[in-house]
C-alpha cells in the first residue's frame, strides 16, 4: 500500500481499496504491481471506471461471482470494430455478429444511442466492452448459453473510515527507518514501517487522533492528526536518536506496552549487535552481566555445559529456582527436574543454549512476581522472554557469518606430595604430623604434577568454528526470516600423551578412537524459519519455527570414579602408585576414557500468533505453540575398557565387562494463550486499557532409561547385554489460567494498573483447586522533556503475587509400582508411596518493587534504580515423615517463609559523542539479601552437602565446623591434631550465591563507528564456595599441607582438621572475584572494500572471553564452578575452569 503517493486529494483516497476490484477486471493480475507508479495509477483508475465481468445471476444463491476477464474464453476472443458514428448499441451488435454473443439490457440503463469512439482491428471482447461501457455504471453478466446481460452495478458499500499514511525517517540522516512501529493512541491500530520507512494505517474512524512512532534507539514522536472519512491523512515522522528508555516497548502478557506505562522494571538485551561485536558463543553468554539482578552461575568450563540462571536470588528450597523461558510467546521446557540420570562428566546442560543467539532479536527479563503476576503459577522465579528475528518488507537481506576460535584451560592445578620415611622401603610414608609425634622421620619429599606437567596434562588447545547464513525480507503482505547455522567445538580436554602411549601399547594398536583422545566435543546445527503476514489491515499473523540438533560428547569429569581432575587430585606421588596407575587415583585416564558419554538433543520450538483487530478499540490475539524436546543421554563402555578399579573399590557396581545406558527423555509443552485488549479514551485526558485472556499450558515429560551390562566384545547394544534394566518416568503438569487487567492513563504521564490472575493446576491439592494472583502498579512520568539536565524522570511502584507449582504427584496419596517375587514368579505389586497433602497449593511469592528512571543531559545518561522486597509465604517444605508411617521419607507442605530483598542500579551513558569518537558505558549493579524466615513448626534445618537451610540465614547457606585456633606448642614447625581447637557445631560461613554484583560494559567507537572496542568486567561478591579441590589431595594424604614442612602452620592446621577431625570450615572459601569476561575489537570495512566481495557490508571482529580472573582468598582455580550446578549442593570440585576463548569472526551482508 505504501507504494502509492500520500497526497490528500479526495479522488485518490480509495485507490488502494479499489485496486483489489479493478485488477482482475483488467485481467492484469498481480503483474500490474510491476508497472511504474503513474502508469499503474492510470490503469487502476481505468479499471475502476469500467464494467465488472460476472457469472451466475442475481437471483442465484450467493449472487453472481466476479471473474478475471482473462480467464474467460469468450472474453478473450478477438473482434474488429471499425464503425463510423459508432454508438453503444451498434458496437454491441458488431460484437454479437462476430462472436455469437447475445446482449440483453435495458435501454434506460445502457443508453444504446450514446456515441462511442472506438476503432480497433484486433481487440478482445473484454477490452472492447470496457471501452464501450466505460463510466456507464454497468456490469457484464455472462451465462452459459452465450447470453450476456448488462446489469446495473450495485452501489459500493459506504466507506466511513479514513487512512493514515506516511514515512518514518532518521532525523539526522533523512533515511527511512525500517521496523519502526506507528500506532494510534486509544485504538488497536498499529503498523510497522517497510524498508523505506513507509507505513499505512487503514480503517480509522473519522476523528482527531494522536499518532506515535517509535523505534529502538530513537526518541518516540507523536503527531496530532485529523482523519476524514474516505480520505488519506499524511503523518510523517523524523525520529531523533535517543538513549531514553521511557518510550521503548516492553512485552507483557497482555501485549506490548510502552515502558512508561508499566510500573515494574524490565531488563532488555538487544541481541543483534552483541552477537556481532562481542564474544558471544551461547545465549547464556548474552545474559551474563547485561541485566542487574540476573545471575548466571557456571557449573564448569566443559564445552556443552550450561549454567544456572537465578533472578533476584533463591526463592524456593524444595522446588526449582529456574526462571520460566518463553520463546515467541511459547513456554519452553527442558531444565527443571530433568537433568541427566548420571553425572559422569557434567553438571547440567541448559535449555537456554538450545537457542542460537544469531536468531534472537531481543531478550526481556521479567524479574519477579511484581512483574510476572500474569504469568501465573510457575513464574515466581522470573521469566525470560526471547523474541526471535523477523523479516521486514523490502529487498532480501542476506547475512553470512563465520568464525573460528581457540579454547584454552587457564587453571594451575595443585601438585601431589609424598613424604618418604627413612628406611629401605621407598613407599613407606611419614607425614608431617607423624614425624612430629616421633613415629617416623621424613627422608625425602616426592612430588607429582599430573595436571600441569606436559606429558600428563590432560589439556591442550580446543577449537571452535561457526558457519551460518540468514535471509530476511518480504513484502508488506508477507515477511520472512530464515537462518541456518552449524557450530562445532572441541573442548581443551585430551588424553594425556603418556596415557595415550600406554593405551596404544595395551591394545596393540597405533590408532585410538577420536572420542577417547578428545572426549569433549559438540556439534550443533540450528535452523529457523519465521513468517509474518498482514493479510488485512486489521489482521497480522506470524509463525516461527526453530529447530536445533545438538550432539555433545562429555569427558569424564567432576566427582566421578573415572574423572580426569578427580583422579589427578586423588592420586599419589608414592613411587608404587606411579608404577601401578601412573600416579592417578582410582583409575587412570587410559582406562576411564573407555567410557564415552553423550547428550543428544533435538529441540523444536513452534509458535503461531494471530492478532485481529475487529474494531478500532479492540485488539484480540491468540498464540499457540508447541515445544518439542527430545534428549538422550547415552553412556557406553566396550567390554575390556573403562574404569579398571571402580567396582573393586566400591565406586561402581559395574566392571570392565561392557555396559551401555540409554536415557531418552521427551518433553512436550503445549501453549495456548488467547486474549483481548480494549482501549478507549475515556476523556480527553484519561485513557483506558482493559485486557482479559486465558492461558493453557500442558507440560508432559517422559523418560525411559534402559541399561545393559555384560556385553559381548565389540558390541554396544542393549539387546546384547546379559543383564538388562529398564525404567520409565512420566511427569505431567497442566495449568489453566485466566486473567483480567485494567490500566488507566492520565495525560500520558500517570498510569495505574490493576490485574488478577486465577490459576487452576493439576498439581494442586483437591482442597485448593485455584490460586489467585493479584497485582497493582503505578508509573508516573514526572518529566519527559527530552532535553536539559533532567531530561526525563519517572517513578514507579508495583506489587504483585505469583507462584511456583508443586511437583505433580505430591498432593495425592499414592502407591508406587514394584515387581515382587512370589511363589510362581515375578508379579506386579504396589507399595505405599507418598502421603499426599490435600491442602497443597503453590508457593506464593509477593513482591513489592519501587523504582525510578531518570534521563540526564538530554538522555545521554540514563539511570534506573529499583528496590524490591519479595516474600514467599506458603513455601513448600519437604516435611520429613517419621518412618513408623511407612510410605516415603518426606511430604511437601506449605509451611515456610522466605525473603529476598535487594537493590538494583543500572546506569548507561554516552560519555563521549563526537563524529569520530563515541564512548558508551553501561553499569549494572545489584545487591540481594536472601533469608529463610521460617520453616514451619517442628521442621529441623534442612541439611545438604555443604549447605543448610536454617531460619534466619540465607537459603542453602554454607555451614561447616571451623578451626577456632591452633598453636605449634612444641615449636617444631609442625601442627599435630592435638594442637588444633575446633568448633563443636557447624557455623554459618556465608551465602552460596553472590549477594552483590557489579558489571561494567563499555564500548568505544572510533573512525565514524568503523572501529569498535568493547569490554566487560564482571564482579561478584558476598558469597563463598566449598572448595574441595585442595581438600581432595589431603584426603588421600597427598597434599602439600600434610607433607611439606614449608607449608604454613595455618594450612597444616586446616588440612589436619579436615582429614582427622572432619572439620571443613577452612575449605569454605571466599568466592568473591572479578572476571575480565569480554574483550572485543570490531571493524566495519568500508563499502568499497565490502564491494570487492560483492557485499553490502563486511564486519570483522576479534574477541576474547574469560580474559583474566582476580580472586580474593579463593585457593583453587575457578570460584564460579559448582560441580552439580544445584542449589542444594555447593561443591566446587574437579570441574574445569571456564576456558579462555579467542574468536575471529567475519560477517557479510548482501
Amino acid at each position: 500500500m505504501s507504494r502509492f503517493p500520500t497526497a490528500t486529494h479526495a479522488v485518490q483516497k480509495t485507490v488502494a481499496r479499489r485496486v483489489r476490484h479493478a485488477l482482475p477486471r483488467l485481467g492484469l493480475g498481480l503483474a500490474l504491481l510491476a508497472i511504474p507508479g503513474t502508469v499503474r495509477a492510470q490503469a487502476l483508475a481505468l479499471a475502476e471506471r469500467g464494467p465488472r465481468f460476472l457469472v451466475g445471476s442475481v437471483g442465484e444463491r450467493g449472487g453472481p461471482i466476479e471473474i478475471d476477464a482473462s480467464s474467460s474464453v469468450v472474453l478473450r476472443r478477438v473482434v474488429s470494430l471499425r464503425l463510423a458514428h459508432a454508438t453503444v448499441g451498434r458496437l454491441l451488435e458488431a460484437i454479437s455478429r462476430q462472436t455469437g454473443l447475445r446482449f440483453f439490457y435495458s435501454r434506460d440503463l445502457v443508453a444504446p444511442d450514446r456515441p462511442v469512439t472506438l476503432q480497433a482491428d484486433s481487440i478482445t471482447v473484454a477490452s472492447a466492452l470496457v471501452a464501450i461501457l466505460m463510466d456507464s455504471g454497468v456490469d457484464v453478466m455472462l451465462s452459459r448459453s452465450s447470453r450476456v446481460a448488462l446489469v446495473k452495478r450495485p452501489a459500493p458499500p459506504p466507506v466511513d473510515t479514513g487512512t493514515v499514511v506516511g514515512r518514518v525517517t532518521d532525523r539526522r540522516a533523512g533515511t527511512g527507518l525500517v521496523g519502526a512501529t506507528v500506532w494510534i493512541d486509544g485504538t488497536s491500530r498499529s503498523a510497522t514501517t517497510d524498508a523505506d520507512g513507509r507505513y499505512h494505517l487503514g480503517g480509522v474512524a473519522p476523528g482527531s487522533y494522536t499518532v506515535r512512532a517509535r523505534r529502538i534507539g530513537y526518541a518516540y514522536q507523536r503527531l496530532d492528526v485529523m482523519v476524514v472519512a474516505n480520505q488519506q491523512t499524511a503523518a510523517d515522522f523524523a525520529l531523533a536518536i535517543s538513549t531514553t528508555q521511557l518510550d521503548s516497548l516492553v512485552t507483557t502478557v497482555t501485549g506490548e506496552r510502552l515502558r512508561r506505562e508499566v510500573g515494574h522494571s524490565v531488563g532488555r538485551i538487544e541481541a543483534t549487535q552483541l552477537v556481532e561485536t562481542a564474544p558471544v558463543t551461547s545465549l547464556t553468554d548474552l545474559l551474563t552481566g547485561r541485566v542487574g539482578g540476573v545471575t548466571v552461575l557456571s557449573s564448569g568450563g566443559t564445552s556443552g555445559q550450561g549454567p544456572r540462571v537465578r533472578i533476584r536470588g533463591l526463592n524456593s528450597f524444595s522446588l526449582p529456582n529456574e526462571p520460566l523461558l518463553y520463546v515467541d510467546g511459547v513456554l519452553v521446557g527442558g531444565d527443571a527436574g530433568v537433568g541427566s540420570t548420571f553425572y559422569w562428566g557434567f553438571g547440567r546442560v541448559s535449555k537456554l543454549n538450545d537457542l542460537n543467539p544469531e536468531e534472537i532479536e531481543s531478550i526481556e527479563i521479567v524479574k519477579g512476581p511484581s512483574a510476572a503476576t500474569l504469568y501465573g503459577t510457575q513464574a515466581a522465579n522470573g521469566v525470560i522472554r526471547v523474541t526471535t528475528k523477523r523479516g521486514q518488507a523490502g529487498a532480501p537481506l542476506w547475512r553470512l557469518w563465520t568464525e573460528g576460535g581457540v579454547l584454552d584451560d587457564p587453571a594451575t592445578y595443585p601438585k601431589l606430595y609424598f613424604s618418604q620415611a627413612t628406611g629401605t622401603d621407598p613407599n613407606a610414608e611419614c607425614q608431617l604430623a607423624l614425624q612430629s609425634l616421633g613415629a617416623c622421620q621424613v627422608a625425602r619429599l616426592h612430588t607429582l604434577d599430573l595436571l600441569n606437567a606436559d606429558s600428563t596434562r590432560p589439556f591442550t588447545l580446543g577449537f571452535r568454528s561457526q558457519l551460518g547464513a540468514s535471509i530476511a525480507g518480504g513484502t508488506p503482505l508477507i515477511r520472512f526470516f530464515a537462518s541456518a547455522e552449524t557450530e562445532l567445538e572441541t573442548g581443551p580436554i585430551k588424553l594425556p600423551d603418556v596415557e595415550a602411549d600406554f593405551l596404544r601399547r595395551e591394545r596393540g594398536t597405533a590408532t585410538l578412537p577420536g572420542e577417547q583422545l578428545r572426549s569433549n566435543h559438540f556439534n550443533k546445527h540450528s535452523f529457523r524459519l519465521n513468517l509474518a503476514a498482514s493479510p488485512r489491515h486489521n489482521i497480522d499473523a506470524s509463525f516461527s519455527s526453530g529447530f536445533v540438533v545438538n550432539n555433545i560428547r562429555f569427558p569424564q569429569m567432576a566427582n566421578n570414579a573415572g574423572g580426569f581432575i578427580q583422579n589427578a587430585l586423588a592420586g599419589s606421588a608414592k613411587p608404587a602408585a606411579y608404577v601401578a596407575r601412573g600416579g592417578w587415583g582410582i583409575s587412570r585416564p587410559a582406562d576411564f576414557v573407555g567410557t564415552v558419554t553423550y547428550r543428544k538433543t533435538d529441540h523444536l520450538i513452534n509458535s503461531g500468533t494471530i492478532n485481529w483487530r475487529p474494531v478500532s478499540w479492540l485488539g484480540t490475539r491468540g498464540t499457540f505453540g508447541l515445544d518439542y524436546l527430545v534428549f538422550a543421554d547415552d553412556q557406553n563402555t566396550l567390554r575390556g575398557q573403562g574404569c579398571r578399579n571402580c567396582l573393586r573399590e566400591g565406586f561402581s557396581t559395574i566392571d570392565r565387562d561392557g555396559f551401555r545406558t540409554v536415557d531418552r527423555t521427551t518433553n512436550v509443552i503445549y501453549t495456548a494463550d488467547v486474549g483481548a485488549t480494549a482501549q478507549f479514551g475515556l476523556t480527553k485526558r484519561i485513557t483506558s486499557k482493559t485486557a482479559a485472556g486465558v492461558q493453557y499450558t500442558h507440560n508432559n515429560l517422559n523418560r525411559v532409561t534402559a541399561s545393559a551390562t555384560q556385553l559381548p566384545p565389540g558390541t554396544l547394544t542393549l539387546s546384547a547385554g546379559t543383564n538388562k534394566l529398564l525404567s520409565e518416568f512420566t511427569r505431567d503438569v497442566i495449568t489453566l489460567g485466566s486473567y483480567v487487567e485494567q490500566q488507566l492513563g492520565l495525560d500520558d504521564r500517570l498510569f495505574v494498573t490493576g490485574a488478577l490472575r486465577i490459576d487452576e493446576n493439576s498439581s494442586f491439592g483437591r482442597n485448593n483447586r485455584a490460586a489467585y494472583y493479584p497485582k497493582v502498579s503505578g508509573s508516573w512520568v514526572a518529566s519527559d522533556a527530552g532535553s536539559g539536565i533532567l531530561s526525563s524522570l519517572r517513578f514507579r511502584a508495583a506489587l504483585g503475587v505469583s507462584g511456583i507449582t508443586p511437583a505433580p504427584q505430591t498432593a495425592r496419596t499414592l502407591f508406587s509400582a514394584v515387581t515382587a517375587t512370589l511363589p510362581g514368579g515375578n508379579v506386579p505389586g504396589v507399595t505405599l508411596g507418598g502421603l499426599g497433602d490435600a491442602n497443597l497449593k503453590p508457593e506464593r511469592s509477593r513482591e513489592i518493587e519501587l523504582g525510578l528512571d531518570a534521563g540526564l543531559f538530554g538522555g545521554r545518561l540514563n539511570a534506573e534504580l529499583t528496590f524490591y522486597d519479595r516474600r514467599a509465604t506458603d513455601a513448600l517444605v519437604a516435611r520429613t515423615l517419621p518412618y513408623s508411617l511407612g510410605g516415603v521419607r518426606t511430604r511437601l507442605e506449605n509451611i515456610g517463609t522466605l525473603l529476598n530483598r535487594g537493590l538494583e542500579v543500572s546506569l548507561s551513558a554516552r560519555v563521549i559523542e563526537r563524529r569520530a569518537l563515541t564512548w558508551d558505558v553501561q553499569l549494572e549493579a545489584s545487591g540481594n539479601r536472601n533469608r529463610l524466615v521460617s520453616l514451619g513448626a517442628g521442621i529441623p534445618p534442612g541439611v545438604g552437602t555443604g549447605t543448610r537451610n536454617q531460619p534466619g540465614y540465607p537459603l542453602f547457606g554454607l555451614w561447616e565446623r571451623t578451626v577456632d585456633s591452633y598453636s605449634d606448642a612444641n615449636g617444631d614447625g609442625i601442627i599435630t591434631p592435638s594442637e588444633i581447637a575446633v568448633s563443636n557445631d557447624p557455623v554459618f560461613l556465608g551465602s552460596s550465591l553472590p549477594t552483590r554484583s557489579l558489571t561494567l560494559n563499555t564500548s568505544v567507537s572510533l573512525f565514524r563507528s568503523r572501529l569498535r572496542v568493547g569490554a566487560q568486567l564482571d564482579y561478584r561478591g558476598g558469597h563463598r564456595t566449598f572448595d574441595q579441590n585442595n581438600l581432595r589431595p589431603c584426603q588421600s594424604g597427598s597434599c602439600r599441607e600434610l607433607n611439606d614442612p614449608s607449608a604454613s602452620l595455618e594450612d597444616q592446621a586446616n588440612a589436619l582438621a579436615a582429614v582427622v577431625l572432619d572439620v571443613y570450615g577452612p575449605y569454605v572459601e571466599n568466592a568473591e572475584h572479578i572476571r575480565f569476561r569480554e574483550l572485543s575489537l570490531s571493524y566495519a570495512a568500508s563499502e568499497g572494500f565490502a564491494k570487492l566481495l560483492r557485499a553490502r557490508s563486511l564486519n570483522v571482529t576479534l574477541s576474547a572471553r574469560n580474559v583474566a580472573l582476580w580472586t580474593f582468598g579463593f585457593k583453587s582455580w575457578d570460584p564460579d564452578n559448582n560441580m552439580l550446578a544445584q542449589d542444594n549442593t555447593n561443591l566446587n570440585f574437579a570441574t574445569q575452569a571456564q576456558p579462555v576463548i579467542g574468536i575471529l569472526r567475519l560477517t557479510l551482508t548482501y
Partner: protein, 433 residues
C-alpha cells in the same frame, strides 16, 4: 458490516472458550502413569498387587542390602567387617543405614502398614477362604516380632490407614510381642485351611510366645508344624528389587563370617558345621586385614532364604522342654532338627544347666544362621536366662582400627522418627535387652 461480522465471530470465539472452560476438569487431568492411586486398588486385582508389594517390602526389609539379617548379623557375632559402627554396637540414631530410603525400619513399617491396611480392606473383597488374608495378618505379626527382637523398647508404631495418620508413641518390647500375638490370633482364623499359611502362623506364634517368655504355650503352638515345613523369602535376579543380599554382599567382600567375634562369638568358621558352610579364610580385598570368609549356603543372588520353618518349630519345642527340665524331650527335639542336615552327629547332654543353655542357643545360632534370629536370642539370654550382656555380645577390642565394642544391645530408632510428635529421643532404650 464487516465490523458486525467481526464482533459476532468474536462472540462465537468467546462462547467456544467458555464451553472449553466448562470442561476444565478434563483439561486439568494429568497423565501420571507412574503412580497408582488408592482408587485403582479397589478390587481383587488391586488387593493382589498390594499383597505382593507388601510381601516384597518385607523380603527387602529382611534380606535386602540394608536388611535386618545383615545389620543384626553385623551387630551380633554372625557377620563382621563392613559398617564399623554396626559391627562394634555403637550406632548413632542418624546413622545413614538407618536413615536412607532402604532403611530396614522404613521398609518394615511400610510392610506392616501395607499388611494391616490390605488385610482389613480386602477381607471382604478376596474370595472366601483365600489364605492371603491370613498370610497378611501373619506377616504383619512377624514385623512386630522382628521389631521386638531387634529394636529397642520404645519403637513407635504409627497408623496411616486413617486420615489424618495417627502417630504412635513408644511401645515396649513386651507390647510388641503382645501385638504380634494379636495379629497372629486373627491370622489363625483366616488361613482358609491352607497348610502353608497355617504352619506359618503357628511358627510365628511360637516365636512370639518364646520372646514373651511363654515357653509351654510356644511349644504347644508349633507342635503340629512338620519339621520339613519352610516359608521361604524368595529372590530373583532380575529384577533388582528382591536380591539375596546375604549372598551378594558377602561375595562382594563387604561382610565376612567371623569366628569367635569379640570373645563371646561363636566359632562359625572353625566349627565346620554343615549348617553354616563357609570358605577358607583369606585376606579381604576391602582392607587386606580382615579374614574374608564366604557363606557357601547360597550360590546366587536369586537363592531363597528359609525364614520361617519347621526346624525353628522343633527348636522352640526343645527350648520349652529344657525350661520344663525335660532333658530327653529337649535333646530329642534338638536332634530332630539336626536330622534335617545330613552328617550332623546327634547331640548328647553336656551335663550342666549352663552348658545346656549354651548348647540350646548354639543350636539355634547354627540352625537359624543369618535369618534375623540371633540378636533376639542374645537379648533373650540376658532377659530370660540372666546372662550379662558382656557375656553374650561381642566385647573387647575390635579386630581393627584400635576401637572397642560398644554397650548397645539393641538397634536404634532412626533420628528421623523424632519428626513423630509422639516420640522423643529418650524413648528408645538401647541398653535394655
Amino acid at each position: 458490516m464487516w465490523q458486525m461480522r467481526g464482533i459476532r465471530r468474536g462472540i462465537g470465539f468467546a462462547v467456544t472458550l467458555a464451553i472449553g472452560a466448562c470442561s476444565k476438569n478434563d483439561i486439568l487431568t494429568p497423565d501420571l502413569p507412574d503412580f497408582v492411586f488408592p482408587e485403582d486398588l479397589e478390587d481383587v486385582t488391586g488387593g493382589t498387587a498390594v499383597y505382593a508389594g507388601a510381601v516384597s517390602d518385607l523380603v527387602v526389609a529382611m534380606t535386602g542390602s540394608s536388611g535386618v539379617v545383615l545389620y543384626s548379623g553385623l551387630f551380633t557375632d554372625e557377620l563382621f567387617n563392613g559398617s564399623r559402627d554396626w559391627d562394634i554396637r555403637n550406632v548413632s540414631p542418624d546413622n545413614s543405614r538407618l536413615e536412607e530410603g532402604s532403611s530396614p525400619v522404613l521398609l518394615l513399617h511400610r510392610a506392616r502398614n501395607s499388611f494391616e491396611i490390605a488385610a482389613r480392606k480386602y477381607a471382604s473383597i478376596f474370595p472366601a477362604n483365600d489364605p492371603r488374608i491370613g498370610e497378611m495378618w501373619a506377616l504383619a505379626g512377624m514385623t512386630y516380632i522382628v521389631f521386638g527382637e531387634n529394636w529397642c523398647s520404645g519403637m513407635p508404631f504409627s497408623d496411616r490407614s486413617v486420615e489424618p495418620p495417627v502417630y504412635g508413641g513408644p511401645t515396649t518390647t513386651a507390647v510388641m510381642f503382645q501385638t504380634a500375638l494379636e495379629r497372629l490370633t486373627t491370622a489363625a482364623t483366616l488361613t482358609g485351611g491352607n497348610a502353608r499359611i497355617t504352619n506359618l502362623v503357628a511358627v510365628l506364634r511360637g516365636r512370639a510366645l518364646l520372646n514373651a517368655g511363654q515357653f509351654a504355650e510356644a511349644a504347644q503352638a508349633v507342635a503340629n508344624v512338620p519339621t520339613n515345613f519352610s516359608y521361604d523369602f524368595l529372590h530373583a535376579n532380575p529384577p533388582a528389587r528382591q536380591l539375596n543380599h546375604i549372598y551378594l554382599q558377602n561375595q562382594r567382600e563387604e561382610y565376612s563370617v567371623p569366628n569367635r567375634e569379640g570373645v563371646n562369638g561363636l566359632d562359625f568358621v572353625t566349627a565346620a558345621d554343615r549348617r553354616v558352610p563357609v570358605s577358607t579364610p583369606r585376606p579381604s580385598a576391602s582392607d587386606g586385614v580382615t579374614p574374608q570368609v564366604f557363606f557357601l549356603k547360597y550360590t546366587s543372588a536369586a537363592d531363597p532364604v528359609s525364614m520361617v520353618n519347621g526346624i525353628e518349630a522343633r527348636l522352640i519345642q526343645a527350648e520349652a522342654a529344657l525350661r520344663a527340665s525335660d532333658l530327653a524331650g529337649w535333646l530329642g527335639r534338638l536332634n530332630e532338627a539336626r536330622g534335617t542336615v545330613a552328617g550332623l552327629a546327634p547331640l548328647t547332654d553336656p551335663g550342666s544347666a549352663t552348658a545346656r543353655v549354651d548348647l540350646m542357643f548354639r543350636e539355634r545360632a547354627f540352625s537359624l544362621f543369618l535369618t534375623g534370629h540371633r540378636l533376639g536370642d542374645l537379648r533373650r539370654l540376658v532377659r530370660q536366662y540372666g546372662r550379662s550382656a558382656e557375656s553374650v555380645y561381642p566385647v573387647g577390642p575390635y579386630h581393627k582400627g584400635g576401637v572397642q565394642y560398644g554397650q548397645q544391645v539393641t538397634l536404634q530408632v532412626p533420628k528421623i522418627e523424632e519428626n513423630n510428635p509422639s516420640f522423643h529421643p529418650g524413648d528408645c532404650k538401647v541398653t535394655t535387652p
